[in-house]
């Protein structure tokens, strides 16, 4: 009996062992859609970026045109290559000149992409209309910004940056707290909160359509490092565990991500955004559903459905194809060290304090008449892809 039992147990053991092995690696090493990780998940790993320039919204001049022909892309590339803004100077020695100091070295221009917009839904390629409440918020915010610009040359010259505003003496609103937590550049530097998230080294937002991503996976986890802005990158961890989102009282700048696999696609639900995060006017009510799919060895397709019923009248979807970058020869340098070298923000604040002192002493202009909010860097050349409507 004992001698018979052993082989039986043995056979059972072998079967068990085979099951365990199969459980660890349920699928083959590759699928038609791309490779798999050693533990059988779709493999999204590597460094990815969108190699092409595509406007977020379809410019009005392309109306119902969804795709460019190869000839159109070549012609657009030719036209766009002519506006490199290399060493462009605006009124040499002026503040505008300094504000436009970023030349072609900093503003890389990519080849024209095949689609006329990143937005694929609605089908017109345009971001849906704002809700009445969101329009009112935007108008309130705009009025405050215009009041702070009121005494500047920008408004005196009727520059586009002052559209909707008027030129006049410094507004008493300069003493007010902004109507909403500020994320853009105000024409005021009373403290760090008046300056943009970019100047404060916190520019990164979700979702993001630029820069590079490095994806590293483990069973149950997908991590993505976003190399965006100038050293303003950030690290994201997506759990694939079936656990509910964080309590709604816990809010984070990049939200709270919960992922799962649907076939070869990583689907991520993102909620719990902070009122300090600002994606095109959407804040704590933003809800994203992302879909990451490796469509072939070199291509990662990313779609994100963006929803916020307090901001847009309907949800909208962006689609982007990213291409795999060489892991070994890659020379992108991604350490996010903007804050560590942020001399600009204290210099801007202390410079403004010095201007105020000089004005009080009768040795300089009223700082309220100067413009530190408008970006003049894009003047002097219209991008043929997005310009003219």
């Amino acid at each position: 009996m004992r001698k018979r039992l052993l082989p039986v147990l043995g056979v059972a053991g072998v079967i068990l062992a085979v099951i365990v092995v199969l459980k660890v690696a349920p699928a083959g090493s590759a699928t038609p859609q791309g490779s798999r990780t050693g533990w059988g998940d779709p493999d999204l790993q590597g460094i990815w970026t969108d190699d092409y320039q595509t406007p977020l919204q379809r410019p009005a001049k392309y109306a119902t045109k969804e795709l460019f022909t190869d000839e159109e892309r070549a012609e657009l590339d030719r036209q766009r290559a002519g506006i490199l803004r290399r060493d462009q100077r605006v009124e040499v020695g002026s503040e505008r000149d300094v504000a436009g100091a970023y030349n072609a070295v900093f503003q890389s221009i990519k080849h024209t992409g095949k689609r006329t917009s990143l937005v694929v839904d609605p089908p017109d390629g345009r971001i849906p209309e704002l809700t009445p409440a969101a329009k009112e918020r935007a108008a309130t915010d705009r009025q405050f910004r215009l009041a702070l610009l009121q005494a500047t040359q920008t408004c005196k010259d009727n520059d586009a940056a002052c559209a909707g505003g008027k030129y006049g003496p410094p507004s008493p609103r300069r003493a007010e707290v902004p109507p909403f937590y500020n994320t853009g550049r105000l024409n005021r530097s009373d403290g760090p909160e008046d300056r943009s998230m970019t100047e404060r080294c916190m520019a990164a937002v979700m979702p993001d359509f630029g820069g590079y991503r490095r994806i590293v996976q483990a069973p149950g986890t997908v991590s993505i490092f976003y190399d965006v802005g100038q050293g303003q990158g950030w690290q994201r961890v997506i759990t694939l565990e079936q656990v509910p989102h964080l309590p709604s009282s816990v809010r984070q700048r990049f939200g709270d991500s919960r992922g799962h696999w649907e076939g070869n696609t990583l689907v991520v639900d993102v909620t719990n955004f902070s009122p300090k995060s600002d994606f095109m006017g959407a804040r704590e009510n933003l809800h994203l559903v992302e879909r990451w799919t490796r469509v072939d060895a070199k291509t990662l397709e990313y779609t994100v459905t963006i929803e916020d019923p307090t901001t847009w009248t309907r949800s909208w979807t962006v689609k982007q194809e990213m291409s795999r970058q060489d892991d070994q020869a890659n020379r992108i340098y991604y350490e996010p060290r903007c804050h560590e070298g942020n001399y600009g923000l204290p210099a801007l604040l202390s410079g403004t304090r010095a201007e105020e002192d000089a004005f009080k002493a009768g040795k300089g202009p009223d700082p309220a008449t100067k413009d530190s909010a408008t970006d003049f860097g894009t003047e002097g050349g219209v991008d043929a892809l997005t310009g003219g409507g």
Partner: protein, 318 residues
Amino acid sequence: MSRRSLIAAILATAVVTAIVSVSVTRITGQTSRPARTSDGKPNFSGVWQVANEANWDLQAHEARAGAVTQRGVYPYAYAEVPAAPVLALGAAAGVPGSIGVVQGDKQIPYTAAAAMRKADNAAHWIDRDPELKCYLPGVPRATYMPYPFQIVQSGPKIQMIYTFANAARTIHLDNVVGPPDDTWMGHSVGRWEGDTLVVDVTHFNDKTWFDRAGNFHSDALHVVERFTPISADALRYEATIEDPKVFSRPWTIAMPIYRRLEPDIQLLDYPCIDFTEEFMYGHLRKQQLVKHWEGDTIAVDIRRKVPPGEQLFDWYGK
């Protein structure tokens, strides 16, 4: 041994193997976490944290009355009292004692000049420690800061993600070009020595510290880390520190790191750039929030009236 018993023995081994394979699979959340990865390495993926006082001071030290202290009645260091920056926080702002994490003779072998700088750093902790400014913490300090960190272990890349400052680093187990400049978090190249993950970290700048006690290094820093499993939920961390500009010989720290076993554990944001703006730029505001900036000096004026009902005699009177 007969052929039949041999077969039986082999099969019995298979049973044991199968049972062991199943039993070492632990449950976290809803997903099983095997003790080894699919390529047979120890599985370090997960959320980890140290439980020690190394971030206060790598060396053995007794508890102190405050993170910042001043001379009290007596002229002795052991009788100092909390100073203004932390006084209002009472016993919550003291420094816990520690048996230390420096190995061997427990000494950090500074050169004579570097030892003077270390002492000076300690005296100017709140002015100089990069942690207070939310700067990237560097390696090895990122490992033993009092926040959880996450390891995402793939084959050729291991991503380490730290709560503090949202810092991260990629450990390259494959061939990769080094960075074009020095770095805060170093350039990490890993390899396996048996079950130990050995990480060689280079390309540092001289701006990070090892702890809040002023222990520092130069841009010649070279760190060799060793991550070795103790059990499925604990590993031994060892870092050998070499910097000929600052230390007369290499020295080593070691400590256990524990897995965070909460089934729903996840890293939460610690957005400290935001948190430090007042500390770093408050003196440059038009209307200052801290009322006693004297130039760029915070002149802390602690005014905290003990509320009615919270006085000691109120407690005893109840």
